[in-house]
Structures are given as C-alpha cells and as structure tokens.
Symmetry: C2
Subunit: 348 residues, 2 copies
C-alpha cells in the first residue's frame, strides 16, 4: 500500500500553502490563473487524487443519498434505480441502496443505518408491512430532506412522487368492462399502501359507474409472491370470475400460466389485466395488458427533487413546502384482455 499524494505534498513541491492548493483545485477565482495552471499540472504529474473522506468531514456532508426500497428484483425497481442513478451521477452524489424485502422491521433497521451513515437525503418507497413511520422522525428532526415515491406515507410532511393509482385502477377496470367482462376479480396487496388502496378504489368506482354491484368476495389481498398469489387465485376462482385485474404483472403472469395449464383460455374464458408494464408481460402468450408506469422518470424526478431540497437547505432557506408530483401513467391494451379480433404479432 503506497502512500497517497496529498495537498501537503503538492504544497511542498510548489512552495505554496495548502490553502492555495485547495482553492486552485476547487477552481476558486481567488487564485491567479497562472498559479492554478502550475498546481493543476503538478497534481497531474504527481498523481494527486482528492480525498473525499477528508473533504466530506470538513464540509460536514456525505454527498451520499440513501435509497430505501421494498425490493430490487423487479423491472420497475431497477428502472427507478436507473433514473435515480442518472441524476445522482450528474450531480456527483453517491447512492446507498438498502432494501427491506417487504419487511417493516428491516425497513426500520435500514432507515436507522442510513441515518447513521449521515446521508444528505433519502428516497423512499415503503415496504408492504410497514405500519408506523416514526423511524423517519430523526430525518425530520435533523432537517434532512426525504422524498417518497410510489408507495408513500399518506400524512407525512414531505415531497412525494406518485402516479394517479385511482385513475389507473379505474381505467383498467373500465377497459375490462368495455370488453364485456362482468365478474372481475381483483388481486391486490396490503391496503395499507396507498398504491394498492387507490387502485382498489378505482376498481370499485368503475364497477359502480357501470352499474355493477361491488362484490367483496371477488377481491383478495396477498403478498404477491408466487405461492400466495396462486392460493388467492384459486380462492377467487370459486366465485366464477370472468376476468382478473391483478395489481402486479409478475403475479398476473403467474396466474395466467396456472390458468392456461388447467385449460382455461385467455382472454376468451378469462380476461387478464396486470399493472406495472414489466418486460415479462411482452414475452408471455397472450401478451399481458397492463398499466404502463414510468419507473425511470419517477426515479429521475425523485432524485432531482431531493437534490434541489438539499441545495436550498444548504443556502440556509429551510423550504418547508411539500409538493407532490403526479406522473402520468397509461393503459396498455394488449392481448390478454381483448376478446375479439385477437391480433397476432402485436409488438411491444
């Protein structure tokens, strides 16, 4: 392990003070252009690399953003991460990713951990089983900006990025109704989470708007993993549904597979509607109708919003405004929900 070149080495080599070196490397107008040049050249020559740890200690920042996710193994999650990364890279922030595996306890532990790591800000999508949100209080108390996206805490005083889940649920259900489906089962997840609750409300509203009585027996909630999804699907099957509106593409694909294997035709016998526009949906047969949901843009927006907050905070102004951004989503009609004229070779 060879020793690193520091600004002290540069100062000695050039017979200047560390103050000047530091300023030059930071492009400060306080140092004469000619001096700056010399310093730059020497830094290159000696292979100087700034020690960000020392810099961060002195500047009392970490230049790191914490990202708290419920899971990372979905297409949606990786899209969001890509969006976040795009912005943070440009703004020279690091990201520390923690995921809870949908476990509220782990979410609490991760939150504490990121707090201790002294992240400059936090981007969060809540775990399925999270109930209280006290674990975010240290951030609020310290004035560390927090931005929620997708699965947000309803009454929390901070910025939020969401889609209109109510509208999306309404449109998905309406589409199924227009295709002639009448007994639409709904597989959802914890109604504690805004996303699922709002979609569910949209579903109910669409039904009543079409003069169809909402039947609680046609709705089941589960973790959305393979086993649980199949269990509730079989439960729902007893109610003789003619369509499924499932709040997640992976779960929808699992159901479609199981149904088809037991001889049920989709969309002829049962219509199918997912949510999320996972790549998966474009590779199964029939192609899955779904709600397109721009993860990358959500991530970009969340990151930009957070960094803006961090910056304005640094300038002293404590911005107490908590704006919510609603990103648009679109209904994607493919094959699994279109009874007539099932067109072959539709791409994407």
């Amino acid at each position: 392990m060879e020793k690193q070149v520091t600004i002290y080495d540069l100062a000695r080599a050039l017979n200047l003070s560390t103050a000047t070196i530091s300023r030059a490397l930071d492009d400060s107008p306080l140092v004469k252009p000619k001096t700056r040049e010399k310093i730059r050249a020497m830094a290159d020559k000696m292979g100087y690399r700034q020690n960000l740890i020392a810099s961060n200690l002195r500047k009392q920042q970490s230049r790191t953003i914490g990202v708290l996710l419920h899971e990372v193994n979905s297409y949606f999650s990786t899209s969001v991460l890509a969006g976040i990364e795009k912005i943070t890279t440009r703004e020279k922030y690091d990201i520390l990713i923690a995921h809870s595996g949908e476990d509220g306890e782990r979410e609490i532990a991760n939150t504490r951990n990121l707090f201790n790591k002294r992240v400059d800000g936090l981007i969060v999508s809540l775990a399925m089983s999270t109930v209280a949100t006290d674990h975010f209080n240290p951030f609020f108390e310290q004035g560390i900006p927090v931005v929620f996206f997708d699965r947000v805490a309803k009454k929390m005083p901070c910025n939020k990025i969401v889609i209109d889940n109510f509208k999306a649920g309404y449109e998905a259900t309406t589409h199924l109704l227009q295709q002639g489906y009448r007994r639409i089962a709904h597989i959802t997840a914890s109604l504690q989470r805004n996303v699922y609750e709002d979609r569910f409300r949209g579903y109910k509203k669409a039904l009543t708007d079409h003069h169809i009585r909402f039947d609680p027996l046609l709705v089941e909630s589960c973790s959305l993993n393979r086993e649980d999804t199949l269990a509730v699907m079989h439960q729902l099957l007893k109610q003789k549904p003619d369509a499924f509106f499932i709040t997640n593409d992976f779960a929808a694909a699992v159901c479609m597979d199981e149904l088809q294997r037991s001889g049920i035709r989709i969309p002829e016998d049962i219509g199918m509607m997912g949510f999320n526009n996972d790549i998966l949906g474009s590779l199964i047969n029939p192609r899955l109708s779904t709600i397109d949901y721009p993860g990358t843009r959500m991530g970009e927006t969340a990151a930009q919003m957070l960094i803006d907050k961090i910056k304005t905070k640094k300038n002293g102004k404590a911005t107490a405004e908590h704006k919510s951004v609603i990103i648009s989503s679109t209904l994607l009609i493919r094959e699994s929900s279109v009874k007539k004229a099932r067109q072959r070779r539709g791409h994407k």
Copy 2:
C-alpha cells in the same frame, strides 16, 4: 439542522477523555466495564451517533466496496447483488454499485470513479465490450483487492469466482442431442468474454463427441437484446436448425415467443435451451430448459473472499495468492427441450 453530539460532548458530560469514550464505544478491553456502562448509558441518553466519516478518515479506510456490473436489470444480477449485500451487511461494509450498460467506456469511467472514492475493494463482472483491462491497474498498484466473478479477465492476477461454463455448455448441448436434435443452432455473445467463449467451446466439444460436424453457420453472436437476438435468430433459421442453445434466458424467451407466433411448435419442431435460470423461464409456455446458475451464492462468495483479502491485507500480510473458485451449476431440464411425453394440456 441541529448540531450533532460528538465524543467531546460525552467526554465533557462524564468528565472523561475522548480517548476513553472512543475506546468504550469500540468495546475495547482497556476500559473498565463499569466505565463502559456509564459511557454507553450517556451516549444513549444524549443521542450520540458515531461519525463514520471522521472515523474512516482517521482509520484510512472507506469501509466501502465497489461493485462494477455490466447490467443490473436481470434476475441474475439482482441475485448476485443480494448475495453481496448479505455478506457486506454482516461485515459492516457499504457497497457502491456502478453499472456500465455493457459499455467498455463507461466501465473505465466507473472504475476510475470507484478508485477515487477510495473503495477498500472491488467486485467486478466485465462489460461485453471491454477489451483492455488497464483501468484496473491503479487498484493493483495500490494493493487494493479486486475479485472478478462470472465475466472474468483471463490473465489478470486476482481472485475469480466462476462456474464451469465449458461443462455447462457441454451438458446443455449433450442434452439436446440426447433428445434427438441434430442441427443445434447456438446464439452467443462476445467471444471476448470467457463465459460465452467457454460455453461455445462446450457446445462444439459435445457436437464432435457425438460425431456431429460443427457447422459455423449455425452459430451467431449478438448483444442479446431483443432486436439483435431476433435478427440473428432469423438469420440462423435459414440454416434449418431443429434446436437452439441460447446463452441467455431472456434472449431464449424472445426467440421462443417469436417462433411460436409464426406457428413453430416448441419443443416438437424446435427444441430450446437457455442459460441462467431467470424467473422468466418458469413463466413461459413451454417452460424453458436452462442452466441453473447460483447468483446469490456467487455474490456471497465474491464478497466474502474480497473482505477476507481486505482483512489479511490490514494485518500486513500481502497475500499474493490468487485462488479461483468454481461454483457448481446444474442442467435444468424442463419442457422446451423434451420432445416426448410433454405432459401439459394447454390450448392448441
């Protein structure tokens, strides 16, 4: 932004020196148990949190591991990350994830960046288009441990975690041959990368071992994204293959979908074999035969190996040994490659 509690505050409150405080919080045997208790209690009471930035500066470490990936949006990548995370969490390391999107240039930039961030070690899987590997030299020069996994640099002097891709390719091909397929097309990717080259060699060896002449026209290389894969598949179709061995499940699923949509039956008309055991393969119809490839364990092994190296390095011993670990993979025979007795009852 309230001010933080530091060990100086604790020292003042308890009329002790910061040295004792620091030692107590670090569970040093040098401090009397009773004193330790008191310090602990006061730390809790005052809401003390260690400043890792200061600690890291003093200890000349970052307690951060860099992870350099080619992509993060595959099931395999997220599995590896989960494995790495499991170990690093336990060992109290942070991870900084950078991905190149298969672009060699971006890989170089990311490598430099992680070096500047002073990561304590690096875990790498090479991008598709990487040729030279000079960008890792700074790590070697500084004695910073590097572990490669999966896509490794052949002649690089460091630890590696791989599966036996030659054997896997051999077994996959042999299986297809045993099922009676004779003209087996192979879709692969850059043969610069060990994984693809080894599988390809396995494929060729299996053919010759079964007295089938290797036909270069049956092999195409591409980026494995949707468009490119379909293009080379159509190219290969001209050679009238009766099976495909595709070096990646996603690409295999894309091909299967396209073939089925043009009326070709799988596995009756064309057999299909993927690689990676992506979840995808268990959701499509017929289920995709593939090579199971334990991403999580690879990640765990890589992380553990790296951390061991970091630790032994700290103890002064510069371990120059470069062991390679070979993780076992298994042939997973499902429906897409088994001609007879296909026991499903779907439509058609």
